[in-house]
Amino acid sequence: MSWTKKDLLGLEYLTKEEIELILDTADSFKEVSTREIKKVPALRGKTAVNLFYEPSTRTRVSFEVAAKRLSADVINIATETSSVRKGETLIDTGRNIQALKADIIIMRHNCSGAANMLARALDISVVNAGDGWHEHPTQALLDIFTLKEKLGKIKGLNITIVGDIAHSRVARSNIWGLTKLGANVTVCAPEMLLPVAIEKTGAKTSSNIDEALKDADAVNVLRMQFERDEGAAFPEQLDYFKRFGITGERLARAKKDIIVMHPGPINRGIEMSSEVADGANSVILEQVTNGIAVRMAVLFLVSQAREIKT
């Protein structure tokens, strides 16, 4: 099959086959980063623009590295210092970038749906690098890529996602991607952090981490954003660690080879203990490495789709 979408907005919008195509393409790009000269000419002459409305280091840098390894030119726009501060609307900013003849906008935005809106308004490709609580497709793709690399398959796996599911785009994208590929997903959180009707995605819910870990082949531990302004709807930090924190003791009761993932940055001692973060089951740094291959695949595929269309 070939890729036909000019944008990557979320995993909800992709078929199983499209997700598999990204993973397969990422697989072939992974080797590039192991070469002495870490570069292929796939996107030579293309321009990718990182448009980040939210502070982000790892995702932005990962996209930048991915684009550069494909030989694309990369421009970073920090919205704090751009005309966005002067009140320019998102669509106007997008149209200006398009007028510069850029090929891809990689956008992080604090409003859910911002990438959908920008993609609709523009002819050039839009890759969603996280929008509000909605989706963070490349994070989920690199999580899935890592799982597949470790366990050989996705179908039939039991994956537990623990943390602030309600406000997490990483959780949503993972749920869509994993369920489409046939995994059994359990989301685990204090009840106040489980979003309404989440079980309609096909994920099971739990508020007991020990139960949710029992048969899990992997646990994806989300960052707890205690700085979030949601008022009373947030648990106490210490209480959260006691009830949901991933510790060595908890892991000892889970499957021996359980894989521990985290999208970073980690709050050590809040959502997981240091011994787990640095332990034998952790694949957290491999996720970072795989992120490059997955993002190379996404940038390559969306720009290919545009070429077919034009």
Partner: protein, 427 residues
Amino acid sequence: MSMLIKGGRVIDPANKIDALLDILIEDNKISKVAKNIKAQASSIIDATGKIVAPGIIDMHVHLRQPGREDKETVATATAAAAKGGVTTVLAMPNTNPTMDCLESVELLKGIITKDARINVLICGAITRGRLGKELSDVAALKKSGVYAISDDGCSVDSDELMLKAFNEARQAGILTICHSEDKKLSGKGVINMGFNSTRLGLRGISNESEYKRVARDIELAEKAGAAVHIAHVSCRQSVEIIAKAKKRRVKLTCETAPHYFSLTEEELLGYDTNMKMNPPLRSCEDVAAIKQGLRDGTIDVVSSDHAPHTENEKDIEFERAEFGVTGLETELAVNITELIDSKLLDWSKLFEKMALNPAKILGLDRGSLSQGRPADIVIISADKEWAVKKNELISKSKNSAFLGRVLKGVVDYTICNGKIVQGCLLK
């Protein structure tokens, strides 16, 4: 001056008329409704094959003037209304200045006298600045000629203050219209709470935030013995609560808007800000309950909640975009398409909800074709289809939830106080 409307299917629920009849208008009033009227009229409209009905009375319209003339003005809104078959609107008080005192009401009246193409009635504010802190002078507002009071867009949170408002409204003999929403529950929500708010990653607005406040407003009105009208009912439980209260003979009426029975929350899946309004588009079950409420008479009125906003306020990130959609130009056609075509209501029932009931609720001598009434009439090609196109809408704002849709029912003529305000006479 006289006018004869010949051969149309005349719908007049007040007089239980649904028949092929002629209508004679003399001195801007209905002078006769009968078969084959033989009269020398200065103008004649051939209404063969068309529906002829009382002009629409829209109880829920935001004119935006004074204060936000960039969104809409009395001139543009009333032109849009005339195009949509509307002959009377009730203007909501959330203008700048707020319609909370005599001076503001007089200011708007001046604009209406100058610019309005149809009848514009004013709704005063319950509280000063619609802030929910201090009551307006309800008696003075009534004297200044407002037809109802409402803090539309906001609900008066304090039970004590709301009870006091109902008491004053009863004493003044004026209707209170309630925007029933508990902000403590709806918070920063932007769409209906449910699976769709979860998958879109948007904050939800629960049914609870509406129906709990509906229940409270009814309870307080009942206690005060005041007449209350619940605005824009959108959810299942509100319909149930209102149906129950009506059985107790509370002085209670309510309205819904066309989008609440023709669209569901599924419309939001593309983050279309033209589908963003408050209350939000609800679930299929809620839509079914609204339809049932229209059929069984629990819901008395369909009004547009015409809420114009500029493109700058809509063409932005979903959660930052304004709430509200326009409706004056589309409400009749949406109702024909959704209610008449599906046989949910017949023509008489539809014009009960769009003309007769609003007239009764507001105490107007309009909404019927009885002899001697002001000649407010709409003539419709009911089977003619049209596509809603942005550049063909004449409202100053284009934020319609029905852009791109094909609707049934074209207004050929709107006659307001005996004068043609929409449509041209063939010479």
